[in-house]
């Protein structure tokens, strides 16, 4: 009996051992496998002190509203550019010059949720001139100049609820696109019941023209479409360069509990729009003008101060009223998220986040289907094409929750997969998965160096993940979002580095550094300073009073302010300190902070003039000082302002250097 039992136990153990061994032999131990081939990872990311990285990486900040700039492959943080976020470090959004950038038709909005940076393109490749980024919440698009790495322009997008499908550019930066995540009543401020959704709500897809010399944006037209959620967009390339593509979900037209109600249909759509034809229809007078106020805020002058240009009315193309077809719906499985176009412009990849496959449409087959009239339906005049006539492949076993795809230009696509937390590499020829690698954890977007270009550079890939959990030293209940750097130059993806980022990166782009480096400014030329409140020479410093408004025209140079002793300011005055930094040397900045000022410091770049608004409420002596460690005698760079009572007759005087 006992013998029998021990025999069967031994048999059981033996069997278990065999099963474990078989499991190991047939599946391998993935983590150990990957550990073996990361032996040279440190060498691949090492950039020696004083050496420069090969690539600039631009990561969106998500809910931090900024854009962070990284050197790749070292993953060194180079700069954080505030865009849709006030930044007390640089006084962006606090100085009088930058405050107008945040004005909208809803008033001053100093924050937004920035998702998709996209570098301006020439012939389908990033040219490094500007980078655009969207604001999701109060719809806007910003343009950042890559000569100075600062935000030069913010354009409000009207008739839109959640500008998520933005801010992607066309091949020659003819347009930067916007798309409404929420459909809302197209006529803004319309007070209607929410359950009038299907009757009153509409979607709007926005086409913003970009001036090829200055980059200045101009809202050219909007296309009014059925009330779905428009999720992401991309412009075509090469043969499809005249087209842009938007994903949709919620074709169910739900307005409550979308996680259930918008997930019922087997297929939603990718909307393909021939933007060139749409623009021609607008030029030919097929559009109508819809009223709608929106703000266009941009810098004027050589060194820049923002103004508000308030616009009214948008040119609209309504598919219900236009007989000509310029937009088509491509049925695509299960609430597609990303829509990504391969470098040849032929493959349109949908990221069906609830789908079990990655659907790939063919652009040429789409054109054929249009030619052959393979139209299964029309929705508000928009032809719906037959799925089987546009689809060219379905990638099996992509993992759970495929979202976004980038391409290496070598015939492979890389798709981020959220739920199974991995990146899958698959062939554009066989539509089969050839490699997969873990992401830590829950990946959203991914980037490939020079990705979304006609000529991607298959060097590095970055996965932008949503939760860090145990990856780094813990920093409390809320931690920074991680990113992983992979080498994709070999046959298999190789994890090189895992690093915490800033904010909450969604999309990101990387561009070869030499496309930007030579364009980067070192100073603002003092000779070109056309700020209306600049002083041309430091000896021109002075103070002017006009009623309760006092303007201090101040200059700074190492290591003093002129003037640095000021008397005659009164409680109740509105004081503007216009500080001109006379330095003409790279990276020598001065700042000013005044005790009790309800404001941030004001940091002024060499050759620039910036203004702090200050409304003193108490009498007394107010120290001010230079906030930047500008020189050996930085700590001596200080001054005093005397504030007297409102009815005081202390004369307005200023001086420097006479004790």
């Amino acid at each position: 009996m006992t013998n029998n039992r021990s025999k069967s136990l031994r048999g059981l153990l033996l069997a278990a051992g065999f099963i474990a061994m078989a499991a190991f032999i047939f599946t391998g131990c993935p983590s150990q496998q990957r550990m073996l081939d990361t032996g040279d990872a440190a060498q691949k990311v090492y950039v020696a002190p004083g050496e420069h990285d090969e690539y600039y990486g631009f990561f969106s900040g998500g809910y931090s509203g900024q854009l962070s700039v990284w050197g790749l492959p070292s993953t060194r943080l180079l700069r954080v550019i505030p865009v849709f976020s006030q930044d007390p470090e640089t006084a962006y959004g606090y100085s009088e010059e930058t405050k107008p950038l945040f004005e909208t038709s809803y008033g001053f909005i100093p924050w937004d949720d920035s998702h998709h940076p996209h570098i301006s393109q020439t012939n389908g490749n990033a040219d490094g001139r500007w980078i655009f980024i969207n604001a999701n919440n109060t719809p806007r698009i910003a343009r950042i100049d890559l000569a100075t790495f600062d935000t030069k322009e913010i354009l409000e997008i009207p008739n839109t609820g959640g500008n998520h499908a933005s801010s992607f550019v066309t091949s020659n930066t003819e347009y930067v696109i916007g798309g409404t995540r929420f459909s809302i009543p197209y006529e803004e401020d319309l007070d209607v019941p929410i359950d009038s959704y299907s009757q009153e709500f509409r979607g709007a897809l926005t086409f913003v023209a970009v001036d090829e010399e200055t980059g200045r944006m101009d809202l050219d037209f909007q296309v009014v479409v059925p009330p779905y959620n428009y999720d992401l967009g991309r412009a075509g390339k090469g043969p499809s360069a005249d087209w842009v593509f938007f994903t949709t979900y919620n074709t169910e037209e739900a307005h409550t509990m979308l996680e259930v109600n918008a997930s019922r249909a087997d297929k939603d759509f990718i909307a393909a729009i021939n933007w060139r034809k749409a623009a021609q229809l607008v030029r030919d007078g097929h559009g109508s003008t819809m009223p709608g106020e929106y703000y266009h805020n941009y810098y004027i002058g050589k060194q820049g101060y923002a103004i508000n240009d308030i616009k009214n009315g948008v040119t609209v193309l309504d598919t219900r009223e236009i007989d000509e077809d310029f937009i088509y719906y491509l049925p695509t499985p299960k609430s597609p998220h990303g829509v990504d176009i391969d470098p040849t412009g032929e493959y349109i990849v949908g990221g069906g986040k609830l789908a079990t496959v990655i659907p790939v449409h063919s652009f040429s087959r789409m054109l054929e289907a249009i030619e052959n009239g393979d139209i299964i339906d029309r929705i508000d005049g928009i032809p719906v094409l037959d799925y089987d006539s546009t689809i060219i492949g379905e990638v099996e076993n992509p993992g759970l929750g495929p979202l976004h795809t980038e391409f290496d230009g070598q015939g492979y696509a890389y798709t981020s997969v959220y739920i199974s937390s991995e990146i899958v590499k698959w062939s554009l020829e066989t539509f089969e998965v050839v490699d997969r690698i873990d992401a830590y954890y829950s990946i959203g977007h991914l980037l490939i160096t020079a990705g979304d270009n006609v000529n991607p550079e298959p060097r590095y890939m970055i996965g932008l993940t949503k939760t860090a959990k145990d990856r780094y030293l813990p920093t409390g209940p809320k931690q920074n979002h991680p990113a992983q750097l992979y080498d994709i130059s070999g046959g298999r993806m190789q994890l090189l580095k895992d690093f915490p980022t800033i904010g909450e990166p969604h999309y990101a782009q990387a561009i070869r550094a030499d496309k930007i480096v030579d364009r980067v400014a070192q100073i603002y030329e003092m000779e070109e300073n056309d700020h209306p409140h600049a002083i041309r020479r430091i000896v021109d410093n002075r103070i002017e009073r006009e009623g309760n408004v006092v303007r201090i025209f101040m200059g700074s140079t190492r290591s003093h302010f002129r003037p640095d002793n000021i008397e005659g300011i009164r409680v109740g005055d509105t004081v503007y300190v216009h500080l001109t930094n006379f330095e003409q040397e790279w990276d020598v900045v001065h700042g000013i902070a005044i005790k009790g000022a309800n404001n941030s410091e004001i940091l002024v770049a060499p050759g620039q003039t910036k203004t702090m608004k200050w409304e003193p409420t108490r009498t007394g002596i107010y120290p001010f000082y230079c906030t930047a460690f500008c020189s050996a005698l930085h700590q001596e760079m200080q001054g005093y302002i005397r504030v007297s009572a409102a009815d005081s007759d202390v004369p307005l005087t200023w001086r420097t250097g006479t004790n």
Binding site: S559, Q584, W586, A632
Partner: protein, 191 residues
């Protein structure tokens, strides 16, 4: 003088035209904070920065040690030297045309004298800037003066200053070689 010597004299004179187009002296300064380099070029009629705004930066740095600011307007030499060079060009061409050996020697000797005067003048200015310091200087190092080297390199606090002839001086050199060669040739020929 033989035709070859006269051509050489003419060329020697014309070489000096280059001085109107390029600096003949450079003072470069290196310090840890200036990986991009900083310095001055001296022309016959101007003093400029190596980079567009170097002069302003040099003046900013120099004020800490109480050195006077460097401005083109402060040097009367810049008004005179272009005329002197112009005279030497005209004189040289005249020598070439006349083919007078004695005048050629006079031209050559005058050039040497002018060169010595130039160097002495440069030294005196350097001495003046380096020693004539403001009593209000924030940085005072006992016993320290800041005269830049006449030729060569010198460490001045955190800055290594180097002073060398520059492109224009190469043309002066060629000019002297041509004129000297012509004189030598004429002299040995007549012996």
């Amino acid at each position: 003088m033989k035709i070859e010597s006269r051509i050489a004299m003419g060329l020697a004179a014309l070489m000096l035209v280059a001085l109107y187009y390029m600096p003949f002296w450079t003072i470069s300064m290196s310090a840890p904070q200036y990986p991009e380099g900083i310095g001055m070029h001296i022309h016959i009629d101007n003093v400029t920065g190596h980079n567009r705004h170097d002069l302003q930066s040099i003046n900013t740095l120099n004020h800490y040690i109480g050195m006077a600011e460097i401005h083109k307007e402060d040097f009367p030499e810049f008004e005179i030297i272009p005329w002197v060079i112009g005279f030497m060009i005209g004189f040289g061409i005249l020598v070439a045309v006349l083919g007078n050996f004695k005048l050629a020697i006079a031209w050559f000797v005058l050039m040497i004298i002018l060169g010595i005067i130039g160097l002495v003048d440069f030294y005196l200015w350097g001495y003046d800037y380096g020693h004539n310091l403001s009593p209000d200087a924030p940085i005072k190092v006992p016993g320290m003066s800041y005269q830049p080297p006449l030729i060569g390199c010198k460490q001045l606090l955190n800055i290594k200053a180097c002073s060398w002839p520059y492109t224009g001086s190469i043309f002066i050199g060629f000019s002297m070689l041509l004129a000297g060669g012509a004189a030598w040739y004429e002299k040995t020929k007549n012996r």
